[in-house]
């Protein structure tokens, strides 16, 4: 069904929602018959009473505030570097307490299983001996770090910070789309977005009993501290690639909010397998590094020799147990898109539990039957390269031209192991303020899970929104924006 047909078939909505087109996707605010879902009523009433000019004014104030705070990313063109803000939509996305309880339980289960999996493949390899996953898929993965074999990490917690992407499908159920186990970002948008939206809608905020998320930096700090349990005043640092990294704002933000040092590779040196920071008063030992640099760049002696971002000798200090690095190295092997398809099995295998959260049916092109099915149905599928992220290396079948599909088919045939395919899922839509009015736009959900001695989540998430009408791509690098996510109390 096309969007236009869907619109015609459905009842018209009141101002300011007259332009709001319901489609086959699940809409967060409206039921298919056009009535407002119970938990959205307060917000709906408030928006309906707000003149568009006022909403526009608040939106402008919010953007200016981001620009002044320097919450920007840099776009390089031939002559000049321009700083742009990540567009933030003022209309919050709501999640009920029950929905959140389900998500939280499901994510905790998932990170638990994934950590057991990582421990297993870097030690005994039980899961491989039992034939649950083909060995080649692990040992052939570019994110598998042989150097991590036999190395023990505190509390067996390999993934300390995880950002999992969820979507809500047509049936209204949440499903996991992707686990980000390496250096997930976006949490600063969750926190700063909350700040500006709270200022724009202070009354709503109270009326709906929105659960707070400001404690995230404290909980992150507690998680990092828990990795050095016997060390009373461990010194902790956030390791950033530097100001040219698009997430630099976030690195600085987290360091400041936690009250720990923000360091670059050049601030650190390793002597006798101990990591030090160069300070004005002399060298200072560092015990925990929350690194925001990819594995490849962290130590030029072990990984990429051309990396100027890392610290020579860091890995040996890590191996010697003199410093904790969070997340551990080599976690990427568990979040690639091919391993994703095995996660439900891993949950059953390690925890003897049924998976709580759904995930998307996925075809592994490495398997013959799947490959022919995928090639025959490219026009309805989304195909992704297994080791890529950020919306790169993918084909959205229904939106691609014939030539693009044929081109991509060749790539798949040349290297089938590198691809998976999923049905095109209509991400749910939510009211979004665009072009002077409120329209439906597709969104996803990225909550952040912290895992050290305990597993913690703050009740909130980075909701990404595809600002282009009809677009399903929410990545910030591809024109996505962000939305504040409100987990609301019962009876709001």
């Amino acid at each position: 069904m096309t969007v236009a047909a869907a619109k015609a078939a459905r009842p018209g909505l009141d101002a300011p929602f007259t332009k709001y087109a319901l489609s086959s996707a699940y809409d967060e605010m409206f039921s298919p018959d056009g009535t407002v879902r119970a938990h959205y009523r307060t917000l709906h009433t408030a928006l309906a009473a707000l003149p568009p000019e006022e909403l526009y004014r608040r939106q402008q104030a919010c953007e200016l505030s981001f620009l002044h705070q320097g919450i920007t990313f840099t776009v390089y063109s031939d002559k000049q570097a321009t700083e742009r803000i990540i567009p933030t939509d003022l209309i919050p996305r709501l999640i009920t307490a029950d929905e959140w309880a389900h998500i939280e339980k499901g994510l905790k289960q998932r990170i638990h299983a994934l950590n057991l999996f990582l421990k297993d493949i870097y030690n005994d390899g039980r899961v491989l001996k039992d034939g649950l996953i083909p060995r080649s898929m692990i040992y052939g993965s570019k994110h598998y770090r042989r150097e991590m074999r036999g190395l023990s990490v505190p509390h067996d917690a390999y993934v300390n910070v995880c950002g999992t992407d969820l979507i809500r499908c047509e049936n209204g159920r949440f499903a996991v789309l992707e686990d980000n186990l390496r250096v997930p970002s976006g949490v600063s948008y969750m926190l700063t977005g909350r700040d500006v939206v709270r200022r724009a809608f202070p009354d709503l905020f109270q009326a709906m009993r929105v659960r707070p998320i400001d404690q995230y930096p404290r909980e992150l700090l507690a998680t990092l501290r828990s990795l050095v349990p016997f060390h009373e005043d461990a010194s902790i640092a956030v390791l950033t690639p530097g100001i040219f990294n698009s997430a630099f704002f976030e690195h600085a933000f987290l360091a400041r909010q936690m009250g720990v040092e923000l360091v670059e590779g050049r601030d650190l040196l390793v002597n006798d397998n101990v990591v030090y920071a160069r300070t004005t008063s002399g060298l200072k030992r560092i015990d925990v590094i929350y690194r925001r640099i990819d594995d490849d760049f962290i130590d030029p002696l072990i990984f990429r020799g051309d990396s100027a971002l890392g610290v020579p000798g860091l890995f040996n200090a890590y191996r010697a147990g003199n410093v904790v690095i969070a997340n551990a190295l080599g976690t990427g092997v568990a979040d690639d898109k091919a391993i994703y398809t095995y996660v439900p099995r891993l949950i059953r295998y390690y925890l003897s539990e049924e998976p709580i959260l759904d995930q998307i049916d996925t075809f592994r092109c490495r398997e013959k039957n799947s490959l022919s099915h995928v090639l025959a149905n490219l026009d309805t599928l989304v195909v992704k390269a297994v080791g890529e992220s950020g919306g790169y290396g993918m084909l959205v079948g229904p939106h691609a031209t014939k030539a693009q599909r044929e081109n991509f088919a060749e790539k798949i045939k040349a290297d089938p192991e590198n691809y998976i395919a999923q049905p095109t899922i209509q991400l749910s839509t939510a009211p979004t303020f665009v072009e002077g009015g409120i329209e439906a736009r597709h969104i996803d959900l990225r909550p952040f899970i912290l895992h050290g001695e305990e597993t913690r989540l703050v009740p909130g998430a980075f909701t990404r929104v595809a600002l282009k009408r009809g677009s399903l791509v929410v990545n910030s690098s591809q024109g996505g924006g962000s939305k504040d996510t409100w987990v609301i109390g019962d009876g709001a």
Binding site: Q69, G70, R266, N271, Y276, R278, S281, G282, K284
Partner: protein, 316 residues
């Protein structure tokens, strides 16, 4: 604990801001005073402005207010222009964003975002002096915000060192153009009017009058700008601030690493504390000014060698 890289960024952020402030003030004062000067006087004083703020190759060109303003204020390719200074200050601030208060960062960021797109062509017909006055007011505000929102600990003292080393050198350069060897760059002798403008370049006109009345004497101007102990734009005041700040940085550094820096700063302080202007007039003032500049450079290098760019092997 303060990372050496952080100290480095704070130091330069503050040096660049001081340079931006000085540039904005010179241009504001110059543009406001042009109207009362003859064409020839005006050209000479533009030449002094250009000579005090940029390298000498630029001086070959004919001094023209518009060209000088464009180059000194808005030229992104001129590394010492007002917009470049602000851009460098902001880059350094961004590097150490987590060390600054939100207020400091946002004031600086807003100032940069406001001035960065301005062009000389765009403002020349609409009282250009006004823009520099406004910029100046914002930089003063930023100074106040810095003082009242940052913890006056090590980082703040690195800001002090940067600001005051830069300030001492900028004032000395202006004095050199009026009293020293650089005086030869401008053929005409400074007129009565130029002396007043010199005071205004340093925010010193009224403070000077309070001290010496409105009678303008070059010797007294030199005395005031070099040796007044309480005036924030005098060389002596700046050197005092540097000495004081040096006692507050790198609290954990062993005496062996502090010694050289503190000895150099102490020597400069003694020199400006105990020299009298009549010993210099008519003779050694040029050499004295050059000596201050060199000693400032030495202090800068010693700070780097002791606290910022020391070799790891020296402390392991």
């Amino acid at each position: 604990m303060m990372l050496s890289r952080v100290a480095d960024s704070l130091y330069w952020m503050s040096r660049y801001l001081e340079r931006a402030e000085h540039t904005a003030r010179l241009l504001a004062v110059k543009l406001e005073s042009t109207v009362e000067q003859t064409r020839e006087e005006s050209e000479n004083s533009w030449l002094r402005v250009a000579a005090s703020l940029s390298s000498e190759d630029f001086l070959a060109e004919k001094p023209d207010g518009f060209a000088v303003t464009r180059r000194l204020a808005f030229d992104h390719y001129n590394p010492s222009s007002l917009v470049s200074s602000l851009a460098f200050a902001r880059d350094n601030a961004r590097q150490v964003r987590e060390q600054l208060s939100n207020e400091v960062w946002e004031y600086l960021n807003r100032l940069y975002l406001r001035l960065s797109p301005v062009t000389a062509e765009g403002i020349w017909s609409q009282q250009p002096a006004r823009l520099f006055r406004e910029a100046l007011e914002e930089i003063y505000t930023l100074g106040g915000v810095t003082d009242s929102t940052l913890n006056h600990r090590e980082g703040w003292y690195f800001l002090e060192i940067g600001r005051n080393i830069e300030r001492a050198q900028l004032v000395v350069r202006l004095l050199d153009l009026h009293f020293g060897t650089a005086r030869a760059l401008v053929k005409a002798e400074p007129s009565y009017f130029d002396w007043i403008v010199l005071l205004k370049y340093c925010n010193a006109f009224e403070p000077y009058c309070k001290e010496y009345t409105a009678i303008i004497e070059p010797e007294k101007i030199a005395q005031f700008l070099l040796f007044d102990f309480g005036f924030p734009h005098s060389v002596r005041y700046a050197v005092d601030r540097v000495c004081e700040a040096l006692t507050q940085v790198a609290p954990g550094a062993p005496p062996s690493r502090r010694e050289k820096v503190e000895r150099l700063a102490g020597r400069l302080k003694a020199m400006v504390d105990f020299t009298q202007i009549d010993e210099l007039i008519g003779g050694s003032l040029s050499a004295f000014l050059a000596d201050i500049t060199n000693q400032c450079e030495d202090i800068h290098e010693a700070v780097y060698a002791s606290y910022i760019a020391y070799g790891a092997e020296t402390v392991l």
